[in-house]
Symmetry: C2
Amino acid sequence: MADKKVEAITSMEEDFAQWYTDVVVKADLTGYTSVKGFMVLKPAGYAIWELIQKQLDERFKATGVENVYLPMLIPEGLLQKEKDHVEGFAPEVAWVTHGGLNELQEKLCVRPTSETLFCDFYQKDITSYRDLPKVYNQWCSVVRWEKETRPFLRSREFLWQEGHTAHATEEEAQERTIQMLNVYADFCEQILAIPVVKGQKTEKEKFAGAVATYTIEALMHDGKALQSGTSHNFGDGFARAFGVQYTDKENHLQYVHQTSWGMTTRLIGAIIMVHGDDNGLKLPPKVAPTQVMIVPIQQKKEGVLEKAEELRAKLSEIARVKVDATDKSPGFKFAECEMRGIPLRVEIGPRDIENNQCIVVRHDTGEKLTVSLDELSDKVTELLEVIQKDMLETARAHRDSHTYTATSWDEFKDIIENKPGFIKAMWCGETECEENIKAETGASTRCMPFEQETLSDVCVCCGKPAKKMVYFGRAY
Amino acid sequence: MADKKVEAITSMEEDFAQWYTDVVVKADLTGYTSVKGFMVLKPAGYAIWELIQKQLDERFKATGVENVYLPMLIPEGLLQKEKDHVEGFAPEVAWVTHGGLNELQEKLCVRPTSETLFCDFYQKDITSYRDLPKVYNQWCSVVRWEKETRPFLRSREFLWQEGHTAHATEEEAQERTIQMLNVYADFCEQILAIPVVKGQKTEKEKFAGAVATYTIEALMHDGKALQSGTSHNFGDGFARAFGVQYTDKENHLQYVHQTSWGMTTRLIGAIIMVHGDDNGLKLPPKVAPTQVMIVPIQQKKEGVLEKAEELRAKLSEIARVKVDATDKSPGFKFAECEMRGIPLRVEIGPRDIENNQCIVVRHDTGEKLTVSLDELSDKVTELLEVIQKDMLETARAHRDSHTYTATSWDEFKDIIENKPGFIKAMWCGETECEENIKAETGASTRCMPFEQETLSDVCVCCGKPAKKMVYFGRAY
């Protein structure tokens, strides 16, 4: 890279965790307040979330999802109705004990997730098969009292969407569970340029109260995994706990079958750790709040700022464009574009204007192109598409070259110590063995992928007959 | 109206409050859970909020507003930093006292509004004049521990946007305060078809901690006023309390000047009470989630549903359209369109298809038109515009014919008892007099309108020299 950085970012190789923090701070994504464990999403960070939200919401609605909004507080009695669920969440919720000047008769927790509220609502709202299916989603924030926090990855409050559906049959619920997992996977690949592995969580790793949890797992640049979205099939467990019933066409009372599925601001952490480098953030064009930054060169010369503004107006028809007309030096502006991950930079100066051309720089490769102003719109459209596609391919190549196969325990331990990435290995299906693997290596089962392979007949750890091929990895 | 109602709605004349509740329930806008004082926004209600949010957000961004997200919890010490502000809000907040399994060292309140958090954030984020202005907004929910609640109008949790800005000068802050009030007023008129009176709140009615509060006041169908949006100028009061300072161009340390402004889901209550009638909701086209409902007639006859679907596909290019292909009777479907306030209904049956035509019914007037299918798109576009405009004019005529002038105390009392609406009257400017008027008549000062008139030289109540013309009214 020819361009200098504005301020030193710790090198990824040297200290990945510090690199991550540096990027978050220097790309101006988050800020601090006096509320411990909570973060501020600053304009540059929130604008990425707005683009995620808009494009994900469109995909939801195309499958028939309707948005709703439920209360942020859950009475203790409601949280306790489903046994596994309360065990999973009670230790990490925040409790409201006083409202106004009075102590509450029943304390309320700030929602860590809203299964119990949706069940309570569905119990009142569903009576007949005509009321089904309910395919509802809400965009909101949730609170979980985490001990250690990191911007986007783990925070006491985070933004997310949570879909909650109710269906007449088991089959329909399972179909919706997988449908939404596929929406998530496709969204990650097409919009975030992040390839994912789709699969099912083991019993140990599934959601509190679910019959089955499905996940998409992405690989970060440092070889650690990040769970990027989950979709749960609840069967009729919640329905039985909350009495959510409907009368079917034969006038029999039946329990509904439910699902839930969620993605969070954690995705912004994934974007940073999959695409970023030592110069800062790299945003896929589809989630870049600014896709093209126009930097005027010798901007005090007559006609330069006017021309930059003219290009901005024209490019605005096809992309999200800004002009940096501040009094900083061009080199400083270039470095800021790098840091903030803007996909394309357009440089325009007096000599360019004379020649009816400009310089276009791809942020992902550093490539510089001289482009005729007459062809600029077409070229920008083309480049944004190419960058989006290339970023996915680069991430896929990284993921594939960091996915290993272990058929023996020694091999497994060697890989986990020396080659950060996914490990595909056979597993006996026992939770105890899964726990041993985690205790010895720090690697957890990421998922039992839909695309199963037979690597050997025996469990990589205990040697008993193998039941499933599993993706293992250390994870965020 | 020719169409019958699905279920009886209490007549407005008979009991306006019950009419309101009936419409909210029967148009399926909100639902109940077991969380007392909180409501569920169901799909039909939330979709209106989404349209409000989208169109308001566009207007914000056109003035340079950037969206952010700040924590939902505020440490007690932070809330207490500005004296007037804490006095205003402390009695009505919810307190979190436990996080996870531990009691918190400092209790946290669920945000009732976020001035204190923004100040704390700005104190850390602003150092130089180059960092100004900050023109930030957030979309979120807030909690206020209300004793009596009504859907949309008063609820323990509601959705809103809160803008918080910081400026170098007093003038710039005042300019932004008025600019946002104008954005609100224009939005209400152009999008919600609700005319408003713009003005300043009195000392007694201004926001806790503000130097000046500006408001837009709308008149409901029953003659009561609804405060529909407020914009506050804080001067440098919060900045001094929180130490929000910047160094100016001459390297002197200065306090910033701040504003805040908000609109809430209360606007949905305003839409109901301004436009609704005894048949249910009436939605202005610009906030109608479904603008056109196509009702197939004799839908089992060959080709009817296909034609309805063909019209839907075509109209989708210019409007939000649905087909009601359920097995309910056409009469039932018509009534549902009424109840839910859908602006246009299109009826298409076998005979219409033969004649290459359909029936288009305006919900606001009940007018039925026979329209050639070749001209349907143009006609629908035109009608949606006409309805939007006519609804504003109807609401304006109602507001104007229910705005009275009182120049004596007897006249004031007579109007307040017998003619529900706004009362314009002169006022001495004394809080004591304002309190007397409220105690005796239940009418509060709505605002000191920007468009002042001189109705007489003396206060309508006490007879002392008049300082301002005020809009009075009973209010929600």
